[in-house]
């Protein structure tokens, strides 16, 4: 029997599912090895669980989504978070819970009854077996994780940082040019695509294991201020414990002094 696979999405842009479709022939090869029993974006067939593998894209923002997430956790052996919205809180996480009601009023008017609660990663509610980071996910990583799951392996993230791949790509180190970059503390796997494209690294692949955050901050603070640094950290990493530690605590100390 082929493993029963289901793909679900919560509030998000669906770009990681588009990345999945962009695998083209490879996607068919992969989906041939499983039975896709539920995938709203692609098919009408929508079987109930139990499932062997559930892939979830997006951030659970509404109570209904949070309930569905908990329900799906009970229905599946393996649960994979697809993309930074699911794995980190990512872009939706830029909005703080306390600020939501202000923006509901501003955007939807005072009579509107909001449904959203907060934008947190899946791990805020359930145990996740593997987090496939990225905004969007990298196609090669997508294939690797898929293949490892299919042979029953527990996939692991890259142990090296974006710097390793950035070096291989032949880019000049942005820090040397006194430009902020989160590459040194960010998990590799993206191929340093943003830096190669002329941008910087905002850390959408999540923090690598044993990330030397303090060392990086020491370097960055030589040429930049905390407001600018916070902007970088708050793009994809705002809902991580590290963000809370670095910025909320600094703010407190600043407030006292």
């Amino acid at each position: 029997m082929r493993p029963r696979l289901a793909i679900f999405d919560f509030t998000d842009c669906e770009g990681c599912e588009v990345a999945l479709v962009s695998l083209r022939e490879k996607l068919l090869e992969l989906t041939d090895q499983v039975e896709v029993v539920n995938w709203r974006l692609a098919q009408k067939k929508a079987d109930d669980g139990p499932y062997d593998i559930v892939i979830i894209e997006g951030t659970p923002v509404t109570q209904e989504e949070i309930n569905t997430l908990r329900f799906l956790r009970d229905q599946t052996k393996v649960l994979v978070g697809l993309g930074s919205c699911a794995t980190l809180g990512g872009i939706p996480g830029i909005i703080d819970k306390e600020k939501r009601s202000f923006w509901y009023k501003k955007i939807y008017g005072k009579d509107y009854k909001p449904r959203g609660i907060d934008a947190l990663p899946l791990t805020a509610y359930v145990t996740v077996d593997y987090s496939l980071h990225g905004c969007p996910v990298d196609k090669k990583e997508l294939v690797r994780i898929f293949e490892e799951l299919l042979v029953g392996k527990a996939p692991k993230g890259k142990s090296y940082s974006v710097c390793f791949e950035c070096n291989l790509a032949g880019n000049r180190c942005r820090l040397l040019d006194r430009k902020i970059c989160l590459g040194p503390i960010t998990q590799g796997g993206c191929g340093a695509v943003c830096i190669s494209g002329g941008l910087t690294c905002f850390g959408c692949f999540g923090l690598r294991e044993e990330a030397q955050i303090e060392n990086l901050l020491e370097t960055i603070y030589k040429f930049s201020d905390s407001k600018e640094v916070e902007r970088y950290f708050s793009t994809f990493l705002k809902k991580t414990p590290e963000y809370a530690r670095i910025f909320k605590e600094t703010k407190k100390t600043n407030g006292k002094s």
Partner: protein
């Protein structure tokens, strides 16, 4: 507990609800509120076009470019010729990416009697090869010009952070030429399908420049009811309404539903098509009162955008990309508080960005109106008409017809809740 049931094969979470006794249908949108217009406030201008493409993974390039246009408008930055050509090429790629995904993966199964777009490989391998070819090459174009297939990073206010080399442009041209055959095949397929019949007095809107079939250079909002207004006055034309059953706003014009996207563009600019695309348009006999024909319109457009991509590549190869394209402004700070509007045609229709910047270059206000916000009103109205015109049919048949109708509009619910 049960999982919610949403319409399948559309982007995002929407569902049709019926009151069969009263013969009423309405469209609920259940995506969580995303608050992008709040998210960017307090952040620097360049974050606008980095963050807001995440509104939509299907049309991120359209969001990226509309946001850039708004920032440029606020700062009075005038991009050079090469930059505009590269952006138009990128937007062509976006259109083909999005139309191909929708036509083959989401819409075609309805007409070929399949459950999933993935099944086409077995049932219709030739069509499937066409889809793969269009997807592969449009992704490649987006990748080489924008830096990545989804969520571009090479684009910026004033130009590009990186531009492709002449060798890359030549390679792209060799590939892009193959899209024409696949696009012709796509037209053959979608002009051979039997679309459900319905006759609706649609209010069609498109951004136009009046001279060419253009999706980037959006000077006016035009309608099939003889409207022509400058695009920066979009708020006079589109009135957004809040509904208690939807986390997306519904856009109306003078209290009536608006349809935007391929069918509307063909209606308002179709006579400006050139060459083969013009022939296909003439041949297709598009019915502008039948929203199901939006699929046919997308197929015609796919050919047009493929042809335009080839033309632009020819020009770029011949003239080269001037260095102006990569000389970006030093900072994005206006001399005084400034407002900018950026508009363009996204795959699903008119997309509007308005941004206010303070002298530090920080965003103090942002307003975004997406195509699907406009289409939701028309979808709901047309669904009611289809329901009325099909009285006596079984509930299952009506539900199928209405789901197909929603799909034909190619709604992007994720965009509508932004």
């Amino acid at each position: 507990m049960e999982k919610a049931e949403f319409i399948t094969k559309i982007e995002g979470h929407g569902s049709l609800h019926f009151n069969w006794g009263k013969n009423k249908v309405w469209l609920e949108v259940a995506e969580g509120e995303r608050l992008f217009e709040g998210m960017v406030v307090g952040r620097p201008a360049e974050d606008l076009y980095w963050i807001t493409p995440r509104i939509c993974g299907v049309c991120p390039i359209a969001h990226n470019l509309a946001a850039i246009k708004a920032v440029e408008d606020a700062l009075n930055i005038k991009p050079g010729k090469s930059t505009i050509l590269l952006r138009k090429l990128l937007l062509d790629a976006q259109m083909i990416q999005s139309h191909t995904l929708h036509l083959y993966f989401l819409a075609a199964p309805d007409y070929l009697g399949l459950d999933s777009g993935l099944e086409i490989i077995k049932t219709h391998p030739v069509y499937f090869q066409q889809a793969l070819e269009l997807k592969r090459i449009s992704d490649l174009l987006a990748d080489k010009i924008g830096g990545r297939g989804i969520h571009p990073m090479a684009t910026a206010a004033g130009g590009f952070r990186k531009v492709p080399s002449i060798e890359t442009l030549k390679m792209l041209k060799k590939e892009a030429v193959k899209m024409l055959l696949a696009a012709q095949g796509t037209f053959n397929l979608f002009s051979s399908l039997v679309y459900p019949e319905v006759s609706v007095n649609l209010n069609l809107f498109s951004l136009t420049n009046g001279k060419t079939y253009d999706v980037y250079d959006a000077k006016y909002i035009s309608s099939n009811k003889k409207l022509k207004v400058r695009s920066e006055n979009y708020q006079d034309i589109i009135e957004e309404k809040i509904k208690d059953y939807s986390t997306a706003k519904f856009g109306y014009h003078k209290k009536k539903g608006m349809m935007v996207g391929s069918l509307a563009r063909l209606n308002l600019q179709g006579n400006l098509l050139k060459g083969e695309a013009k022939k296909l348009f003439k041949e297709a006999l598009v019915d502008f009162k039948n929203p199901y024909h939006n699929n046919l319109a997308q197929a015609i457009e796919t050919y047009h955008f493929a042809a335009e991509a080839n033309e632009i590549l020819d020009i770029l190869i011949q003239t080269g990309i001037d260095s102006e394209a990569t000389s970006l402004p030093k900072d994005l700070k206006p001399g005084k508080n400034s407002v900018g509007v950026g508009a363009l045609e996204a795959p699903r229709g008119g997309l509007y960005y308005e941004v206010r910047l303070n002298t530090k270059g920080l965003i103090t206000r942002c307003n975004i109106v997406t195509p699907t916000v406009q289409n939701l009103s028309s979808i709901e109205e047309t669904a009611q008409i289809v329901l009325d015109q099909n009285r006596g049919q079984s509930k299952e048949r009506i539900q199928d017809l209405l789901e197909m109708l929603v799909r034909a509009y190619d709604p992007c619910i994720t965009c509508s809740v932004h």
